[in-house]
Symmetry: C2
Amino acid sequence: MRTEISTLGEFGLIRRLTESIELKNESSKYGVGDDAAVLSYPENKQVLVTTDLLMEGVHFDLVYVPLKHLGYKSAIVNFSDIYAMNGTPRQITVSLALSKRFSVEDMDEFYAGLRLACEQYNVDIVGGDTTSSLTGMAISITCIGEVEKDNIVYRNGAQETDLICVSGDLGAAYMGLQILEREKAVFKGEKEVQPDFSGKEYLLERQLKPEARADIIKKLTEAGIKPTSMMDISDGLSSEMLHICTQSKVGCRIYEEHIPIDYQTAVAAEEFNMNLTTCALNGGEDYELLFTVPLADHEKISEMEGVKLVGHITKVDMGCALISRDGQEFELKAQGWNPLMDDKK
Amino acid sequence: MRTEISTLGEFGLIRRLTESIELKNESSKYGVGDDAAVLSYPENKQVLVTTDLLMEGVHFDLVYVPLKHLGYKSAIVNFSDIYAMNGTPRQITVSLALSKRFSVEDMDEFYAGLRLACEQYNVDIVGGDTTSSLTGMAISITCIGEVEKDNIVYRNGAQETDLICVSGDLGAAYMGLQILEREKAVFKGEKEVQPDFSGKEYLLERQLKPEARADIIKKLTEAGIKPTSMMDISDGLSSEMLHICTQSKVGCRIYEEHIPIDYQTAVAAEEFNMNLTTCALNGGEDYELLFTVPLADHEKISEMEGVKLVGHITKVDMGCALISRDGQEFELKAQGWNPLMDDKK
């Protein structure tokens, strides 16, 4: 079944995709259907705004990314930025540019994923823009969230002796991408390898259906811990750690042996003959949280499930370094994935 | 002079484009440089959010649109949506996707236009995203504004006997586009016509450097007039009038003779052998305001400079019609420019 978008037109398509949306948050006053959405936040809350632009062929490849998963992920990556400020996402606007190859049913799929993410994280879709593209698909999502003024966590608050923490594990989404890229090559007949996803389910899920760490934010609040600095890991631990150190005017030591890595990630790195630590440090799209806490929170944070201590903050003149398993120091470099420098992905 | 973007990288480019930005609005607490921008609005204000996605080849043609103008216009079209809610724009986020053909200097130009618009309308650039594109350029801007709750004007409040008003004049931006398209054809050697912009300056300015009608919103407030419904005219008067009538569950009569049209627009329509009224009704990108006011405001609105009465609201069962100069009724149809249906522009 394929219905051309031109049979509905822009407004018909928007109506179809958004008509059954119910606004659930108290702060969402008016959603889709006027020149702008109307929001109302109480005086004690500050408003957080983040935005992401995803381009076909650069950020996603529709050869192996199902549209429903793409919708889900597009929302999640924005929620993740709001959590990384210690906030709660409340609304998104969704803009899409589509070429003629997309059908109404394709958009139903994309919106199904988007709406699933919004339901799970209690976020309202309040607006957007739908237009055409001469070539690929472009997705622009803006997420609005809330946070109490005193609870905001910036990137610039890390202090000497603070502990460096990471949620979940790193490098899995990157290995998931390698597997999908390999399958694409197989599909094109470029390589003589049979598709084999068994034992790699976690890696594929991390790449195709990531989650934002709302649970960690909740645990930190419940434990009475306010990080001194925080950001989400979208471009790799090295790159993000350098952002925190630069903005906080501090140095750091990260211990290779403490970097959390899943077993499947390790197996896949070996299979692809890649350095595992490099994958964990520089692989993108983990959407885990990187944060620092005062040394005094050592006990509380050590007991927290899903959080690992990976190092500590130092004076700025100590620089930023990785301490390898054999005790050597290596300068931390942002080799991370940079879509402006490198079109590989 | 051409500096490749890859020499600066994503973060270097963002730093260059945004480092001298100073936040001017009280509600802008933290701008570019973290996972999200932080805004703070007082309790008595509601927050307006609007977003637009502009794609190269669909919404703009870099053959004849200078990047500085494009930056200016990209901001203005979003401000216009906030004014159309009777609000004031305060912040924007700017996401850009760029192919390798763009240089650092190109982005300086784009940002120069963007920043000029922001200065003139007192809006802060608080965030964004810069990434690469395999093909053309994509621009996504989200604008956040404020309005007192009781002052919001939706599309759905038009009442029977209300007067229909339009600011400025219509069809000029569309004629400006025709002229630029003709020059492009000349440039390509497709037509044997000499470029001739004299006497067409207004049309070109309307297409390349539109303004948002902050002045009309101010005049309405000063005159104590709160429109019953309002929207901005981006897809043509017919299309927008039908939106207001559908959402307000009313009908309308628009009088051809009262549609405001500039002399240059009329001359150009004749030159291009186009129907002038059709251009004014269906030409896009005017960014004028279409609004309705109670009959009781007739005197006040008649005296307001820059506003024209073009018709009145009727019962829903009267339908939506244009009354021609010779008194005939024609059903109002949204032939307006629809980028999802038509790739001409």
